[in-house]
């Protein structure tokens, strides 16, 4: 067993070495050092197994067995502006960064709407002018010392997406970071990396999406770091719409400073196996977090959401609503941790996870966890797993709506609870369509 595991890791280790050789000398010294540190850690770490508590219900062994080819020198592989239409948003066409198979695709990106000191660029372009910002923040939050997937991503940082909002800047246009995979001769691995820094009092909306133009097998290992400075407000939508045969491991690490507001909505629709780790640290007083999620797992899909909300200081609030829809032999995992540290008085933390099972074979493991070390706090959590109610279906039937459409309408309504909170109309409508498509239904609900 151990031997096999080592062999599986060899594939990734050789990719890391090859990458270091190829990139040697072409990046800033601090980045090379960071990559070497991460590579050294990756060599020592093992990929998680189901014996690890945090990975108990998600087995990555099948993913590690696949003979992936590391995307070191792909071109845009035939993706065109037209082919991107279904995976982009009309409000963000001039504030769009596109990465194809892990590589920055300048010809598909368009940041013409971005101005006034706001930076939306790939790392390579930012290294020259914003070296200190990147050096200070990149890999400062996502833990590559103990997490194998994060170490792997960090050891392979070549390019990535960088968003910077200067102090007090309000960006009305939503910013879209698109990570696209298009089919290659062999299964591709890409290591998307995102860094977002919202300066003091700045406000913006960022959509981070993962998509594919075909139904191929590939592996996306993404790491995103987010800093929301004092008084800043960031709306962050994460849309995972990979191919149904893909593997997606994503980590989002968020640091919130005093009186900042961070609203997250993580939507998981694609991939055969998807895992998203979201950690939010409320590091100072008066911080507010709204952490929503929606996962849809159809037949044979596995969607795992692990969240951790860390209340470190008094007078902060977090509200979490994660909803899941499971069909066929779809499977989901929700693990939601809330920490209330010593002294984090008047914390208001709420968490709710609701699951809808559409078939008898579908299943979900849900695990809310509260760890409270402070007095005078308000904390609630709950989890439900249910099916469509017969009385609801009957009610719709008595209004002339047939069983299939009634099921779709109720399922859509279940998801809508999360979708309706999205503050951008076109994104909301696009998500409505995507969710309905996922449910194989064409309901006219807009």
């Amino acid at each position: 067993m151990t031997v096999t595991v080592a062999k599986e890791k060899d594939n990734f280790l050789s990719a890391v070495r090859l990458f270091a050789e190829r990139r040697g000398g072409s990046d800033p010294a601090w980045l090379e050092k960071l990559r070497l540190d991460a590579a050294a850690r990756f060599e020592q770490l093992e990929f998680p197994t189901t014996r690890d508590e945090e990975w108990k219900y998600t087995n990555v062994a099948p993913l590690l067995k696949l003979p992936f080819r590391h995307g070191l020198d792909f071109d845009s592989a035939g993706a065109t502006a037209e082919s991107l239409e279904p995976v982009t948003f009309c409000e963000a066409r001039g504030s769009l960064l596109v990465f194809v198979n892990g590589q920055y695709a300048q010809e598909l990106s368009d940041v013409s709407e971005i101005s006034g000191g706001v930076i939306v660029s790939n790392f390579a372009d930012a290294f020259a002018e914003q070296a200190s910002l990147l050096r200070d923040h990149l890999a400062a939050y996502a833990d590559y010392r103990d997490e194998a997937f994060t170490a792997l991503n960090t050891a392979l940082i070549g390019d990535g997406a960088f968003v910077y909002l200067p102090t007090g800047k309000i960006v009305e246009t939503p910013i879209h970071l698109l990570f696209l995979t298009v089919s290659c001769e062999s299964s591709n691995v890409s290591q998307p990396r995102v860094l977002m820094v919202a300066g003091r009092g700045a406000m913006a909306t960022v959509i981070e999406s993962y998509a594919s133009l075909d139904e191929s097998v590939y592996f996306t290992n993404a790491v995103t770091e987010v800093v929301v400075s004092e008084g800043a407000q960031l709306d962050h939508y994460r849309l995972q719409e990979e191919s149904d045969f893909a593997f997606h491991i994503g980590t989002t690490e968020v640091i919130q400073e005093r009186e900042s507001i961070y609203r997250s909505c993580a939507i998981s629709l694609g991939a055969e196996l998807a895992r998203h780790n979201l950690s939010v640290a409320l590091t100072d007083e008066g911080t507010e977090s709204v952490i929503d999620g929606l996962y849809v797992a159809a037949d044979r899909q596995h969607a795992d959401s692990h969240t951790s909300i860390d209340h470190r200081k008094p007078n902060c609030s977090s509200q979490q609503l994660y909803k899941g829809i499971l069909d066929g032999r779809g499977r989901a995992v929700f693990s939601g941790k809330i920490f209330v540290r010593e002294g984090a008085l008047h914390t208001d933390a709420r968490q709710l996870n609701k699951n809808l099972l559409l078939s008898h074979e579908a299943s979900v493991d849900t695990k809310p966890q509260l760890e409270i070390f402070a007095d005078d706090v308000k904390c609630t959590h709950g989890a439900t797993v249910g099916q469509l109610e017969d009385e609801e279906l009957f009610y719709l039937a008595t209004r002339g709506i047939d069983a299939e459409r009634a099921r779709a309408l109720l399922t859509y309504g279940f998801a809508e609870d999360v979708i309706k909170k999205i503050r951008f109309a076109s994104l909301r409508e696009q998500l409505d369509r995507i969710v309905l498509r996922k449910l194989h239904q064409n309901l006219e609900v807009q």
């Binding site: 009610y395 719709l396 008595t398 209004r399 002339g400 047939d402 459409r405 009634a406 309504g413 809508e416």
Partner: protein, 255 residues
Amino acid sequence: MLEISNLHAGIEGREILQGLNLSVQAGEIHAIMGPNGSGKSTLAKVLAGHPSYVITKGEVTYQGKNLLELSPDERARQGVFLAFQYPIEIPGVSSANFLRMAYNEIRKHRGEEELDPLEFDDLLREKMKVVEMDTSFINRSVNEGFSGGEKKRNEILQMAVLDPALAVLDETDSGLDIDALRIVANGISKLATPDKAIILVTHYQRLLNYITPDFVHVLFQGRIAKSGGKDLALELEEKGYDWIREAESDRRVTA
């Protein structure tokens, strides 16, 4: 329009309707009254096709067709409407979308063009005046967070939009204040045209102060124990159901 003969039906192995007969013609309003547990709501649910109820005996003919063979949604498309005693909440689905979908299903069945959202909006606003509902309600989720009275008014609104041939109203008057009762009664009266029939299932006489039924039936132990005109409702209001109970037990002893 509707012929029920010797209907036996029950739920979970318990027979509740025990040989019910009822004949309803177009243009008629029938009130079905009776004590709790007499089978009033069962009758309403059986007519709408609730899957939990099992028909063990008897026939129901609607517009010349065997109603019991039709699925609930098929019955609705053919003009049978049930106003629920406890309307169901549908989170995440706006009333406008829900009603348009239901309305278009019925139009499709009739071979008519479906209405687009704008056309439907005009119709909906018109019908909303009937139940004196605030227009803000159309974008709210169906029945979610509605008061009891609002839910009942919403049932009447749905009835007004779907324009059924046969409307069965299950305790629509219960839980209503005087204003809501007047609004609901007004909505029902608007539907009472010569080509339609209405069955009002009610525990109390008060709705009948606003709507004059052509027939009043007293349901007792799963069958109609007594039928009469509107005066019977007044008599029941005055004397309660005990005299029916006594008459029935006498009848059973004699039989």
